[in-house]
Point group: C2
Chain length 213, copies 2
């Protein structure tokens, strides 16, 4: 046999990406074989190489896609000229929503960094660092204008990111809590963590809330 009826390059590539994210998230990149991936897509292993030259390149593409999506979502969620409190809220809640909605993709991007080649790792880390820089800037701005009380912006940013990314470790879509409830809870904890001014905070929450609805 050869080309099958109804075969379509775009659909096949999309199916490969989706199946790869699923398999890598569940079993790990090294543990997933190209034959296993091909079987999941419903195709022979050789067909995968029409779309991705190597297994390594496939992983790299998936991670780039994830990081760009995160950057985009974050940029879209940020208020144009928000206060530090508004920006922090937007960052935290967007981060949690994005990661919960793309659990598998997030798992791949967080757990498989060591499977990247040196150059590809550098490229992905560059995007990641740029993303994290946003949070550091929010913390610094808030501290400067005295709405936050943060000792070390770098350390605090890392602590917050670890905390809010960790949601995907325990959260399941059919949990007793909804994504929105979780996002709100984590935002509350984050606010406390940065020593956000309580009264000012309430105003900001409402302001942002109104903007969103």
């Amino acid at each position: 046999m050869a080309r099958t009826t109804g075969s379509d390059g775009e659909k096949t590539e999309a199916a490969i990406r989706a199946a790869a994210i699923d398999l890598i998230a569940r079993h790990g990149f090294e543990a997933m074989s190209m034959r296993q991936l091909a079987a999941e897509v419903g195709v022979q292993a050789a067909a995968l190489y029409r779309y991705f030259p190597t297994k390594q390149e496939l992983l790299f593409v998936l991670m780039l896609q994830h990081m760009r999506g995160l950057q985009q979502a974050s940029a879209d969620a940020q208020p144009v000229a928000g206060t530090p409190n508004q920006r922090l809220r937007a960052f935290v809640e967007c981060h949690i929503r994005f990661h919960v909605e793309r659990r598998h993709s997030t798992h791949v991007s967080n757990m498989e960094l060591r499977s990247l080649s040196k150059d590809n790792l550098t490229a992905v880390l560059k995007l990641r660092t740029a993303y994290e820089k946003q949070l550091r800037q929010i913390l610094r701005d808030g501290t400067e204008s005295s709405v936050f009380d943060v000792e070390d912006a770098g350390l605090t940013a890392m602590a917050i990111i670890q905390m809010i990314t960790g949601v995907i470790v325990w959260f399941r879509p059919d949990d007793r809590l909804s994504v929105e409830e979780v996002a709100r809870s984590y935002h509350t904890m984050t606010r406390r963590l940065v020593g956000a001014d309580e009264i000012q905070e309430e105003n900001h929450v409402h302001a942002v809330h109104e903007l969103r609805i």
Copy 2:
């Protein structure tokens, strides 16, 4: 060749464990081959099977060792009849010290869960859950006696654990901050996160401090 001069079973086993932790942490369990591990130890691959019947069993033993060490360290650090604030401080600082001092071992235990067989995973998760239960209890006790203000003890416990375990992702021993400084910073953030009473807290910090020196 066969048995080498100066060969000693106990030393070889210890060397295998140490090398395995190092290699798995750096490259991942699936990516580490038994031949690679053997080479690191300075031995042939077949020799490994004198100490561990399978690669899977090796991983399992390493994780059990890690979890038991963590349980022990945590138990040793807990004050016999401490206040929630004292217990929280002991838990957080002990956790950070332990994880920073055993970065590689922690990496293995956190990242390679999916490489465990079903039964082995169950056993390791049981230990992990028991450990996390301690923190939930501290949060509940503190909330009950109104020294903490925690909405959801389960969710907050997970958030704290993710945050304080995340230290190993960015912390390096030769960093600008010492382990003790980091532990203190994270404890401060944790206190804020659980809404710990400020004045009472100061007293507790000093009390614990005096106990320790």
